[in-house]
């Protein structure tokens, strides 16, 4: 399980570098507010690749998936609720 074939690692590494190129390219195109969304989507993809293949999450028990998800889920709680304050401060 732990010893994946080297091809998987190489492909993952190459994909990561390709995505890096893509982020940089996308940053220089004016997409308006979409720039940030695109950049974050690419980053999320990269993070997912690293976790799934380099960190072997794809081949792990479902319990591990829960543990991995928990950190991100709690982070999103923090961001969403705190930003709900910042975004609605101007309302009257």
């Amino acid at each position: 399980m732990r010893a994946l074939s080297p091809r998987i690692y190489l492909i993952t590494g190459a994909a990561l570098l390709a995505l890096l190129g893509l982020t940089i390219a996308a940053a220089y195109i004016n997409l308006g507010p979409m720039n940030t969304a695109v950049a974050m989507t690419i980053s999320l993809t990269k993070a997912a690749l690293i976790m799934l293949f380099f960190m072997h999450v794809r081949y792990s028990k479902s319990l591990l998936w829960i543990f991995v998800g928990a950190g991100f889920f709690w982070l999103s709680i923090m961001l969403v609720l705190a930003m709900s304050d910042y975004m609605s401060r101007g309302w009257s």
Binding site: A3, G13, I24, I29, A39, M55, L75, M78
Partner: protein, 215 residues
């Protein structure tokens, strides 16, 4: 599965249980790390939302070429680390040491590049505090950006430094001791840590260097 003749700590029944506990423990630790960095990500998000123009202006003052190269360096180091873990599980300890040293070397390269970048920013008075200076149109909030920039990259660099030290240590253990004979869990955990540090940077890179680069 490594040979069962291995010593298992007294609280565990067998090596399988021990390995499962260790992996689970590492992931719990990584979750805490996510929230540790998360506090800073919230600060970043709140201020970028409040001062979009100042943040864009400040971001354009960062050295994107350095950032991009550094991202590539870390991504490659992660790939090398993946191979190192593989070598450990195949019990090829000479190769393991070599690959670990390669990973550490790339990590050190990252730190050196980051160091040059920091030096440049200090010279340009972009270190917050009384000597901070910028001719940007909204200097206060540019300073706020750089406060966050220094803290986030600084804490990340600290993590990289810890990683490099540990990896070098592990490399020598692989070569000169029997620590990893039939025992790959420690290396695997180290790998998890290193990949995590990489992931943090994957988010930092666009957030710091690439706000409104097109304009």
């Amino acid at each position: 599965m490594p040979s069962l003749a291995l010593p298992v700590e007294h609280q565990f029944d067998d090596a399988g249980q021990q390995r499962e506990a260790a992996t689970l423990g590492m992931w719990v630790f990584l979750s805490t790390e996510i929230l540790f960095f998360g506090g800073m990500f919230l600060a970043y998000t709140a201020y970028r939302y409040t001062y979009p123009q100042a943040f864009a202006e400040a971001s354009r003052q960062t050295l994107i070429a350095f950032g991009a190269v550094n991202t590539a360096v870390l991504l490659i180091s992660s790939t090398v680390m993946a191979f190192a873990v593989r070598a450990a599980s195949k019990n090829r300890r000479a190769l393991l040491g070599l690959l670990l040293l390669g990973t550490a070397g790339l990590g050190a390269l990252f730190l050196i590049i980051k160091g040059f970048e920091y030096a440049h920013e200090i010279k340009e008075h972009l270190l917050p505090g009384s000597r901070f200076y910028t001719n940007a149109s909204d200097p206060k909030h540019v300073e706020l950006f750089f406060s966050i920039y220094w803290v986030m990259t600084g804490v990340h660099a600290l993590h990289v430094t810890i990683g490099v030290v540990l990896i070098v240590f592990f490399a020598f253990r692989a070569w000169f001791t029997n620590a990893f004979l039939n025992r790959d869990t420690p290396v695997e955990l180290l790998g998890l840590y290193w990949h995590f540090v990489d992931i943090v940077w994957v988010f930092l890179f666009p957030l710091i260097y690439m706000i409104d680069r097109h304009s």
